[in-house]
Symmetry: C2
Subunit: 146 residues, 2 copies
């Protein structure tokens, strides 16, 4: 799957991804990078609304697992839990970067999916603006075989 | 502050609250209850997008502290961290209920704000549909004196 494929899927199936102006900027073996503009996600202080920050971060992790699964039939993907630290206000357009969990991360995910019908992967997403990390999200995603 | 006051504030200052269709249904000494419809918040499975669920939950806690502060001058309110468990899909319109932390919770918040210029309160928000709790959010909100 390409970045454009994942973006089209998000925009078609999750309308809030359009409301928030989310784009999939890159998707490769290192991970996925989403972008979102400040304007539709602004809050009372002129910075990014924490709910938008959490939602974009959640989509970044989701996009990475979705791309890994690449339309595998009969598998549904959900988020089980997440936590997030807000270290500094996000005062402009921002990125959500989810690093690929690597061969071992995916191997464990695949073993669970194959042997127990349930694969689990924990992903970290960093929200940044330029070089600075401004918030950190950790999410546990679960894929379940039908 | 009334439920209508808080709703007007959210809609004016946080445009995503409009995109998500968030309403402030009640605000009283027991806490605050927000409502949100499924339709603008739908995901690829026909249930509520986890990012919307997190954002609405975050707004519920935020609304409660905002109402407590009631426009106190020179105090800004931010979320510091949050975590969320998704126990079951939210398959329709839903509520986000944040219980009032009670006199002791607010007294501690006020002591911090008065003596250290920083008040902190941890709030639990339950997302439900009818009687069933479907997700639980815990957020730490911080009010800072200018």
């Amino acid at each position: 799957m390409t970045a454009a494929d994942v973006e089209a899927y998000l925009h078609e199936h999750i309308p809030q991804s359009i409301s928030m102006g989310v784009r999939v900027a890159s998707l490769d073996e290192r991970g996925v990078r989403l972008t979102a503009p400040l304007s539709p996600n602004i809050n009372h202080r002129g910075t990014v609304f924490g709910g938008s920050a959490a939602a974009v971060a959640m989509l970044a992790g989701w996009a990475l697992v979705h791309a890994h699964l690449a339309g595998r039939p009969g598998v549904r993907l959900v988020i089980r839990r997440q936590q997030m630290e807000f270290d500094a206000p996000i005062d402009g357009d921002f990125d959500a970067v989810c690093e690929d969990p690597g061969d071992e991360g995916w191997a464990q995910f695949e073993r669970g999916l194959e042997h127990m019908g349930k694969g689990r992967v924990q992903l970290r997403v960093r929200l940044n603006r330029g070089a600075a990390d401004l918030a950190t999200f950790d999410g546990v995603y679960v894929a379940v075989s039908a």
